[in-house]
């Protein structure tokens, strides 16, 4: 049996924020390996650094020290523009508050990441339609976000996250704004993406029931990863 390759490799990562003259160290020398195809839940109390760590994995921020490697790329060494291009091709994001663009229909929201590719308009539409079908919302393609329920909005957000076929999905409290039934549907969908499509998922959550759906649970406390 061959070993599963590591997709995300974090070594000695520190993150310091400066507020005026004050220096706040949020992460203290984090080491973490996430194998390809894993479903990881990052847990911990508020202010423990979960979202900061997630942002570093997703390339939304750069560490103050240490290295972050995703696939074979040291993303902590990329410039702003390079990091944006890398995110477009490698990462899908799911937010707690969905963050859909209210002026655009579900279809257009899902198409957004594809605007950065060379795909034709017809191909972009086709792929967005497939992604919406995958999340069970093909009949809601023309609806604006305000015409959808919270659970449906989050499913559109997931369709947007997967439409460009990223190697890793990062989700920040994806069920935090949903009722229990909708949260269950979203977790089932994420499980399916991980199981059936082999997507590596890193999810920040406070909810133990959500964390139970993950294969691996990591706990952060005061910027330190606990075993």
């Amino acid at each position: 049996m061959s070993a599963v390759p590591t997709l995300v490799e974090i070594r000695g990562v520190t993150k310091v924020y400066k507020r005026g003259r004050e220096r706040i160290e949020v992460l203290h020398g984090i080491d973490l390996d996430i194998p390809s195809g894993d479903f990881v839940a990052l847990m911990g109390p508020s202010g423990s650094g979960k979202t900061t760590l997630l942002n570093l994995i997703g390339g939304l921020d750069t560490p103050t020290g240490g290295s972050v490697t995703v696939g074979d790329r040291r993303i902590d060494q990329l410039s702003g523009g390079e990091l944006a291009a890398w995110r477009a091709g490698h990462v899908g994001f799911v937010f707690q508050f969905y963050n859909l663009l209210p002026a655009l229909s579900a279809q257009r929201n899902v198409e957004l990441p594809l605007l950065l590719t060379d795909l034709s308009a017809a191909e972009r539409r086709r792929r967005a339609r497939i992604a919406l079908t995958l999340v069970g919302l093909e009949d809601r393609a023309r609806h604006k976000p305000r015409e959808l329920s919270g659970g449906q909005e989050q499913r559109v957000a997931i369709a947007r996250a997967i439409v460009a076929d990223p190697v890793v999905l990062v989700a920040d409290e994806p069920t935090g704004d949903l009722d229990a039934k909708s949260a269950e549907e979203i977790l089932a969908l994420m499980e399916s993406l991980n199981r059936d499509f082999g997507k590596t998922i890193v999810m920040v959550t406070h909810d133990p029931r959500a964390a139970e759906r993950a294969h691996t649970q990591k706990h952060l406390e005061k910027g330190v990863l606990k075993a």
């Binding site: 702003g80 523009g81 944006a84 995110r87 477009a88 963050n99 257009r108 947007r160």
Partner: protein, 408 residues
């Protein structure tokens, strides 16, 4: 182009705000184009004017007449071909409709909404030196044989529906030109066509009548409004003008002689420093619209901080986000500019038909929205849009994703 639907959707998102900003921009461009068109027409008017003619008027003001005795003296001067009296009558149609048969039409106050230029001239020398006015010979003959006769331009005839043989009354607002019996009665004896090729400033909305009719009807008390002097050699204009003014130096009525172009410039300048006034208004409006549009764009971007963060998260570079916001601002500028230009075209065309205004406007040669003014208007609209979008765009360019997402 692939981002165009995204830009347009965002413009439509808060359509009241977008619409009012575009309307504001349109108003600004409309004002700019209309004011510039008027100024341009005035500048053009200064440049036109026959080079073979001088205008000699009272040195103090056009309000004062010159003695009739000057005519012979000027005519004797070397370099002068001929001289003609031309007095601005300032007549308006009485408010009551004119009649063919009589004195009833003479009643009523002047109706300034139907004002047009009417000049009392010495017909023979005047029309001899104004070959740009083409009058059929028999009509000219009929005009000369009738003291109440007048010649009107084709445009004026069209405006009032007058034809040869029609009668109308004019009442001057200049006291010395008013008479106890009431308004002056005129009979249309001829209709002239203006040769715009020979003389671009030739106006076909002017009425000419006999100076003799004015002189005798007012008890032979009025002088000459001004003298039009035809030169033998246009290159001698400055010399002859200087000689005329020198001749009447230290007299009761000193003269000021100048070329027709200079006379036009002086006449326009009488309105005041119109260019400064109109330019000041234009600048104030442009600056106000810049502030309004900048405020709109700032509000729009501030409201969308999360969306901008999401776009960046999805892989849009800071430059692309900057480009999207500037494109939105440019779209507002372009839409407002196009609307403003359209409005200007309509209003400028309408101005040539509005009673009261058209008389003034039609005195300018080639009055209309020139392509250079349109281009300037559109460029200003785009510049305003761009300038208004720069600050919010730069702010979005610099903003860090994690900070913007934290503000959710």
């Amino acid at each position: 182009m692939r981002f165009l639907p995204y830009i347009l959707k965002h413009l439509r998102r808060n359509w009241i705000r977008t619409g009012s900003t575009i309307l504001g921009m349109a108003l600004c461009i409309f004002l700019f184009c209309t004011l510039r068109t008027v100024l341009r027409a005035m500048d053009d008017a200064r440049e036109y004017g026959n080079v073979t003619r001088l205008v000699t008027r009272h040195a103090v003001s056009l309000v004062y007449n010159l003695p009739l005795s000057y005519e012979g003296q000027i005519a004797q001067m070397p370099g002068v071909e001929r001289v003609a009296i031309s007095s601005w009558f300032g007549g308006s149609l009485p408010a009551k409709k004119e009649s063919q048969n009589g004195k009833k039409g003479a009643e009523g106050q002047p109706d300034f909404s139907k004002f047009f230029t009417n000049l009392a001239v010495e017909d023979e020398p005047y029309f001899a030196m104004h070959s740009e006015f083409m009058v059929p010979a028999e009509e000219m003959r009929a005009f000369r044989e009738d003291l109440r006769g007048c010649i009107i331009g084709r445009g004026l005839a069209k405006q009032f529906g007058w034809k040869v043989g029609d009668t109308f009354f004019l009442e001057s607002f200049i006291p010395p030109y008013r008479r106890r019996e009431g308004p002056f009665e005129f009979v249309v004896r001829g209709i002239y066509d203006a040769d715009k090729v020979r003389e671009p400033a030739a106006d076909d909305r002017v009425m000419y009548f006999h100076y003799k009719y004015l002189y005798e009807s007012t008890g032979r008390r009025v002088g000459a409004g001004l003298y039009v002097v035809e030169l033998q050699d246009p290159s001698q204009a400055a010399t002859v003008a200087g000689a005329i003014d020198k001749m009447f130096q230290n007299s009761e009525a000193e003269t000021k002689s100048e070329t027709e172009a200079a006379f036009r410039a002086d006449f326009i300048a009488m309105i005041g420093n119109l260019a400064l006034l109109l330019n000041s208004i234009g600048l104030a409006v442009i600056f106000t619209i810049l502030l309004v549009t900048a405020n709109t764009m700032s509000m729009a971007v501030r409201e969308r901080r999360t969306e901008i963060a999401v776009l960046k998260t999805l892989g849009f570079t800071s430059r692309q986000v900057l480009g999207l916001i500037l494109s939105e601002a440019l779209a507002i500028g372009a839409l407002g500019g196009a609307l403003g230009l359209g409005l200007s075209v309509v209003i400028i065309r309408a101005m040539t038909k509005v009673p009261g205004v058209s008389g003034f406007i039609n005195g300018f040669p080639n009055f209309g929205l020139h392509w250079s003014v349109s281009s300037q208007g559109l460029a200003i609209a785009l510049f305003l849009g761009l300038a208004a979008g720069v600050m919010p765009a730069v702010s979005a360019y610099r903003a860090r994703i994690t900070e913007m997402l934290r503000q959710v």
